[in-house]
């Protein structure tokens, strides 16, 4: 039981990490980035290619994260510009459809060029015992990185001036503009941050299990579920939702069965939308 819950928390941190990059971009400009999973995969493939060149894993991971960041910034500077000229639902719809197109382009190119590409970061070592449950070194590392990133994000948005500026744009774009904040610049920064988070997700996921080139759609789906349940735009909500869903996932996989688990997760997401459309911690 303890092991199942701990497994769930580890998985949940991974879910939360996946959701946070998507929730930030949505919160800021109302764009649901459906290419998010493909950007994660891109980071993973770049990392694995660099690792194949014999570069150290850490350096390769940095290159992978930078690549994901670069693609995200490129996306913001090109395709997202006409999207942000729209308003309200129109903007969301256009963003949704354009990023869906981007997802196909990135996913298709990657699977075409590297049909069997995958990233697995094998961290050797004896299992580490946490409250009496042995955990693999890879999952401990992944969780530690995730917790550090979560803390850094919360501090960034809570304490720094720029972080508060970002939150002001989330709350009221016109108001932020009036007090001298440039929403377009803030959005570019957040897109870059979201890309970097996608790159880090690639690394932490690959520490647990191989991340294959075709995983993009599934990653996007989970990110979407976490984002919705956590509340669009809420960093803490994404992690909370991630951990909750992770625990639900392992519990139901353990006690009920694997296939019904996905249905339960999807049901949880649907119920959240219906009962509390703002999500757990949404405004």
């Amino acid at each position: 039981m303890r092991a199942v819950i701990l497994d769930g928390i580890v998985l949940g941190l991974a879910f939360g990490m996946l959701g946070v990059g998507m929730t930030l971009v949505y919160g800021l400009g109302g764009v649901l980035n459906l290419a998010y999973g493909q950007i994660v995969v891109l980071g993973a493939i770049v990392t694995s290619l660099v690792m194949d060149e014999g570069v150290s894993t850490f350096l390769a991971a940095v290159v992978g994260v930078l690549a994901a960041t670069g693609v995200a910034v490129l996306l913001d500077l090109t395709l997202m510009r006409p999207v942000y000229r729209q308003h309200g639902e129109e903007r969301t719809l256009m963003g949704l459809l354009l990023t869906l197109g981007v997802a196909f382009v990135i996913g298709g190119l990657l699977t075409w060029r590297y049909p069997v590409g995958s990233l697995y970061i094998n961290i050797s070592g004896d299992p580490i015992s946490i409250i009496g449950v042995p955990m693999t070194v890879g999952s401990v590392w992944a969780s530690v990185i995730t917790l550090a990133v979560a803390a850094a994000l919360l501090l960034f948005f809570g304490l720094t001036t720029f972080g508060r500026g970002v939150r002001s744009v989330i709350q009221d774009e016109t108001g932020a503009r009036l007090v001298g904040i440039n929403p377009s610049f803030v959005r570019t920064v957040i897109f870059a941050l979201s890309g970097a988070l996608a790159g880090i997700v690639a690394i932490t996921q690959a520490m647990n299990a191989p991340l294959t080139v075709t995983a993009g759609f599934e990653l996007t789906t989970f990110a979407l579920i976490v984002t919705v349940v956590g509340g669009l735009g809420s960093v803490a909500g994404a992690f909370l939702a991630g951990v909750l869903l992770g625990v639900v996932n392992t519990l139901s996989a353990h006690y009920i069965g694997q296939y019904i688990t996905t249905v339960i997760l999807l049901g949880a997401a649907a119920l959240t939308i219906l009962i509390r459309p703002r999500g757990l911690l949404g405004r």
């Binding site: 639902e89 382009v105 979407l224 296939y259």
Partner: protein, 342 residues
């Protein structure tokens, strides 16, 4: 314009585009692809997607409900028909009726929930997407009933519905024409006025006394019935179904692309889109992955540059070039393919 002229133009507008489409589709096999089983198979596929497209067009194009569960609704129709006819040993037509009704109920229910909770386009999209994924998982999980990923073989199905490929082609052409007529009749009735009003400005429509919620549920129910019927008939014409037949990646993405290509809300949009993409597919069979890239580029291009559909944009452009510049292009308002939201 006199009353008689209005009535005449209404009739001609109702029938002429559909009649022309039917005529073109009817002579297509003899003038183009003959009885080549491969090409006919592709053509049947295109017709099926055009039928899905008409249903989706009614739901999304007419009433702005982003239903990302076209594949799942078709699957409700297909699996519903197959399982009911097989388990309850009922005739095929009854199975198809049950499948269609189930799809209509599910679609109507989804719409009712979305309307009741006043979910916007995005949340409707997410809820229906979640429904799609859950449905696929259920299909995979209920092994005894659905055969999981190995799929279901529908015994003695193919020879009852369509004895050969060309027969299947004409069968689905007939279905498409019927669906187009239903779509057209709805468009021209008072329901169509309500659709246009609520699509252009929901609040204004509500204030003008249009019961937005009710018309949305109507559109979703009828559209879902169309999709479910197509899915059920396709199951019996193919003789085999699997979760992939109705998968999100396979059905929804393509339907969205081809309807957007033809123009959201335009009567013949899905037909033109399906036709163009069938030809493209045939040319692009070299690599599945590159085809995906191509689709992506298409989606991006459509939504960046041709918001009202490629067809309508080209027509407008031609009309503008045809008229002298400066004379004003304020003719009759375009009947079909009005912009997504002006």
């Amino acid at each position: 314009m006199g009353l008689g002229a209005v009535a005449r133009s209404k009739v001609s507008r109702t029938l002429v585009p559909i009649a022309v489409t039917a005529a073109i589709l009817a002579i297509l096999p003899s003038v183009w692809f003959g009885d080549s089983p491969y090409t006919t198979g592709l053509a049947v596929q295109a017709l099926v997607f055009a039928c899905y497209g008409v249903g989706f067009n009614l739901i999304f194009g007419s009433t702005n409900q982003l239903f990302l569960c076209v594949g799942a609704l078709a699957g409700v129709g297909g699996y519903g028909a197959a399982i009911f006819a097989d388990r309850a040993s009922q005739p095929i037509w009854l199975g198809i009726a049950v499948g269609t009704a189930s799809a209509a109920i599910v679609g109507g229910l989804l719409s009712w929930i979305a309307v009741r909770r006043s979910l916007g386009i995005i949340f409707t999209g997410i809820v229906t997407l979640v429904f799609s994924l859950a449905f696929t998982n259920l299909l995979l999980g209920q092994r005894d009933l659905t055969g999981s990923e190995t799929g279901l073989v529908l015994p003695d199905a193919a020879d009852r519905l369509a004895d050969d490929r060309v027969g299947g082609y004409y069968f689905f052409t007939g279905l498409l024409v019927v669906l187009l007529i239903v779509f057209r009749v709805l468009q021209l009735s008072h329901i169509g006025w309500a659709f246009r009003a609520l699509r252009d400005d929901e609040v204004a429509a509500e204030l003008a006394g249009v019961d937005v919620a009710r018309y949305r549920v109507y559109a979703a129910t009828v559209g879902s019935a169309m999709i479910g019927l197509t899915g059920a008939l396709y199951a019996y014409s193919a003789g085999f179904i699997s979760p992939a037949t109705y998968g999100f990646e396979f059905v929804d993405v393509r339907v969205l692309v081809l309807v957007a290509f033809g123009g959201l809300g335009a009567l013949l949009g899905p037909v033109i889109g399906a036709g163009v993409f069938a030809v493209l597919d045939e040319r692009l069979t070299t690599s599945l992955q590159l085809r995906e890239v191509f689709y992506g580029v298409f989606v991006i291009a459509i939504f960046l540059f041709f918001r009202r559909g490629v067809v309508q944009t080209v027509v407008d452009l031609a009309a503008r070039l045809g008229r002298r510049p400066g004379k004003g292009s304020r003719g009759e308002p375009p009947l079909q393919g009005e912009s997504l939201r002006p």
